[in-house]
Amino acid sequence: MVQTAATYQAALEKLHQHLHSYVPLTKTEFRQMEPFIEIREFDKRVKVIHEGEVERYLNVIAWGLARKYLPVRNKEITIQLASEGHMIHSELSFHYRIPSRSVVETIEPTVFFSISYDSLEQLYEQIPGMERLGRLMITDLFIKSDNRYFNQLRNSTRERFLEYVRNHPDMVQRVPQKYLASFLNIKPETFSRLKHLMRPRKERG
């Protein structure tokens, strides 16, 4: 995977836009943040953090695709799927500085904008306005995760499938079916069976 400087510049520009959607952030202010951000590249199917390690980074995906899963009794339960612009890391491990129970693994070749725990603390201390950015990003994350949890508890298998397919058609193309099924808490067989719902009615048969 060879990337030019221009590609990174474009990705940084996108990150700026993304952060700007939370708080107004001038170019100069964003420049101040840049030294704290590390760019990390991974091939596909690479574990970015293993079970038992302490998570060092908060990651935002510049490009690529990754998932977070929990190893349980010889099974992997996918708990998050993340694409460009999304945050993915082992949160409990990162914030409490404890060994991670979950694993973050790339699905496609992936580039992360990463910030270490210490850098993040420095960022909060040194740059005014970062607290607000952090608060708004974490608020957004909470609302999304609460929404997912609620849907998981309340909706039927079929409803969960349809809602996801409708809202994330791109992910359905990119994510292997077994991960999608695990993420939606649907048996792989059931998932295959439900796939006919994705096609328009007249094309069936």
Partner: protein, 223 residues
Amino acid sequence: MGQKPMPFLYVCIQKPGEAQFKTLFDMLEMLQQYIAGYVALTGEEFAVLADKLVVREFERRQLLVQVGEVEEYLSFVVRGLARMYFFKGKTEMITNIAKEGELIGSSSSFLSGKPSCYYVETLEPCTLLSITRANLEKAYRESPKIEKLGRLVTTYFVLQKEEWELECMRLDTRERFLRFVGNNPELLLRVPQKYLASYLNMKPETFSRLKNHVKKRPVAGRP
């Protein structure tokens, strides 16, 4: 931290009535202790927040928020017990139970300003210290330290949710029961058993079987 006597005294002293003053003082002290777990506020910084709080009293079994309403308050429980739930068909699904020293409210609705997916209801008579969304925003603008507090409390919300979800996947029914009872022994006495079962996402029969089992044979390893 270490700034006694309480510097927010002047905030309370404007409230009429000696008896009320004492209670309010105690309430604010409770809140200040809670906040100290996240960030050290000076007296002035705490006053920015204390100034914007309202005291709300509720009987038992009163709804604080209905499904479809926007949650206007984030509340700190000074006294009492409340639960958050929704209906799946005809079944109540409880997703949160809060007691003294904890926050309650339909948090996602409070934060997003969108209609609540949950009911919030008191289980016991409650006294709450509450702040409206508009006033909290105002406090954020007045004090960066309070904004930091907001970030840390919201982060804690996320982590708590993550921890709960992981536990539900990782632990079996018995392990979850034991863990919950170990961490919240007093809730076993205060909360109707069917609610606890719902909160732990298990059948009431399973809950009562596990409870009797534990009573007869104390958990191994305990003295």
